[in-house]
Amino acid sequence: MQKIGVFVCWCGSNIAATVDVEAVSQALAQEPGVVFSTNYQYMCSQTGQDLIRDKIKEYGLTGVVVCSCSPRMHENTFRKTCEKAGLNPYMVEIANIREQCSWIHKDKAEATEKAIILGRAAIAKVQLNAPLQAGTSPVKKRALVIGGGIAGIQTALDIADAGFQVDIVEKKPTIGGKMTQIDKTFPTLDCAACILTPKMVDCAQNENIHIYAYSEVEAVKGFVGNFKVTIRKKARFVDTTKCTGCGLCTEKCPQKKVPNEFNLGLDNRRAIYIPFAQAVPKVATIDPDYCNMLKNGKCGVCAKVCGANAIDYKQQDELIEEEYGAIVAATGFNPIDLSKFNEFGYSQSPDVVSSLEFERLMNAAGPTGGTLLRPSDGKHPHTIVFVQCVGSRCDGGEKGKPYCSKICCMYTAKHAMLCREKYPDTDVYVFYIDVRTPGKNFDEFYRRAVEEYGVHYIKGMVGKVVPENGKLKVQASDLLDNRQLHIDADMVVLAAAIEPDKSARPLATMLTASMDTNDFFTEAHPKLRPVESPTAGIFLSGACQGPKDIPETVAQAGAAASKVIGLLSKDHLLCNPCTAQPDEMMCNGCSSCEKVCPYGAITYIDKEFRGPNRTTLLRRVAQVNPAVCQGCGACTVACMSGAMDLKGFSNRQIMAEVDAICK
């Protein structure tokens, strides 16, 4: 019989307001094996932890039950406390009486009764707990960053600076991400390319960084410290070691009618292309969907003009296997598809553009060379209407997103300001629900747009945009003046909501990292662990975790890098000791457990056992490699002879909990 101590936490009033903590500690004191039971205001505080430690020593406790918040919150805290008092950390069980009791019930009697039952279940379990020792596994000192935008670049640079090897996997032909398409950045109006391209070059030149551009992650196996990743390097049909990036092929290619995705289809590129002048790596890529040579074997111009002899029409996708200790997801965002928003006429008129398209139209490296011209007739627009929150903050609608996209208020202020600065004769209207400018120098920036640049900010939504006689008839409401407005605009710019990149969902499945309902990656704790995924060894950087502007993305990228560095600087990691363990006497060597193990942790050996009359028997029995086993427990159920059990969650322990709950 264990000597168990029960510690009931009030959590201030979080638990104590709905659960009679005194009654709980008294009731649990009557349970078999309980030698001490008490309650305290904050069990996780230093005083609370000291209390647990003192009582372990005073009563010689062999098991501890803490009735408090979720074990996901403080299980480790209390395990460490007990370890310091000389008790094996796995002799602690948590009864979750906050998240799963006091917070969800209003009736005090009911909640108290439930808390007692949950406490009983934990006591029944701890009776059967056994001390466990965590093993260790080595750490592969190499990190993988998935996504080569500003988030991925910054993370990789910071990890590389600490002296660790980093690989960046980017699905596009060049790293740089969305920031390469941006003209100027708020609130300083400095040129995006001027601050980004040096970082891209740093990445390429850093000897600790290897860039897999035009590549995708195909499969991820393993666990923290020992991930095995398969990377598909897509065929560029250009030998990257030979290509000098001179760009001659991109001028001579006869296939001129390929929509240029870098300019969001506002102009065309060739079938062989370099996305933009500062691309890293600066090598050409053949688009197999448009290349005449690849499609029907008739052309070969690029191969003829290439002085470096780099064109290889027979190139195949390449699969690369690498091992990593940590993985950072930095898959970024995309603006949502606006074609669903018929009321704004996005599909009807080329002069209704998204903000990112407008960004390209303003960019000196864009399709118009930086002169703002209407896509329909190439004329200079005189009246421009900006519509905010297109698809953001749409509650319950299928078209939009429920959240605020965070960056639109600021970039719209930037666009409006730049328009007025470059072309003072234009009238600029901005329709908004709210203007949200929480950030350093953000509100000052917005006020400058209104006060100094004379941008017309109107609170209200645009109801309809109708293309008519080369103009866009904008119908809108002015909520503050309570009147309807009709504006004949030359251009309408829609601030599209941003959503996670489509590649994030399948990646999350590969990484077994969780996502929220909007497909943003979930963090391990919304406040205290914002850059870690709940899955050990997976970290989050940038807008894949939630809408973010550039400074926030860079800050989070640095934070993720420091977490990765912390992990990689360890030589060994402690393994989860709650692993499967077979009872060799009961094992009949049937292989059922081996088949269901997702990690291949189970092997078989022939072992000698003592038989009758001093004979020896050779029997085939299962062996579990504790460094590989992750403790899911699939094998324990598959085992037909009941030989396999899971440490920390044994059959007897779980059944003891069931019994305590059903009593």
């Binding site: 979750n96 799963q100 969800i104 969780s514 899911c632 427990g633 159920v637 779980i654 709950i661």
Partner: protein, 145 residues
């Protein structure tokens, strides 16, 4: 047994550590109410649920048992919930054969972000089991004091 108190069912919910237990925590964090007769047991993965545990719960007087795990494809251990799904399909048809109403058992996929779904599922399940009444068929009265 208290006779004068209105009967409420005893519900055992097995939740996988990575998705559903976190989902249950989230419904707590968001203060989404569900009846107090639901008691949660944390297991590492839905595939850890031995059918024996469900039989044990019914034997000891549970009126309903629910298993919550990660959505198919999202299992922390890659394939665990697929095994759980198959095992439960077999177990539930066996229970039905034994005369245990199909509605007393349920498998639900609840992700770590679906606190609202967890609470809604529990409310619905408690309602269903309450309508069915007490589980008498598998309960072993020798286990009761």
């Amino acid at each position: 047994m208290q006779v004068n108190k209105e009967w409420t069912p005893t519900i055992v919910a097995f939740c996988c550590n990575w998705c559903s237990y976190a989902g249950a925590d989230l419904s707590g964090t968001n203060r989404l109410q569900y009846p107090a007769n639901v008691k949660i047991i944390r297991i590492p993965c839905s595939c850890r649920l031995n059918p024996m545990f469900i039989l044990r719960a019914f034997q000891r007087g549970a009126d309903g048992v629910i298993l919550c795990g990660c959505h198919p494809g999202d299992c922390h251990y890659t394939t665990g919930n697929y095994y759980a799904r198959r095992r439960m399909t077999l177990l539930f048809s066996m229970l039905e054969y034994l005369g245990i109403e199909r509605e007393r058992t349920r498998v639900e996929w609840v992700s770590a972000a679906e606190g609202a779904k967890f609470a809604a599922t529990m409310n619905d399940f408690v309602k269903t089991v309450t309508a069915l009444g007490e589980n008498k068929r598998l309960e072993d009265l020798r286990c009761k004091e």
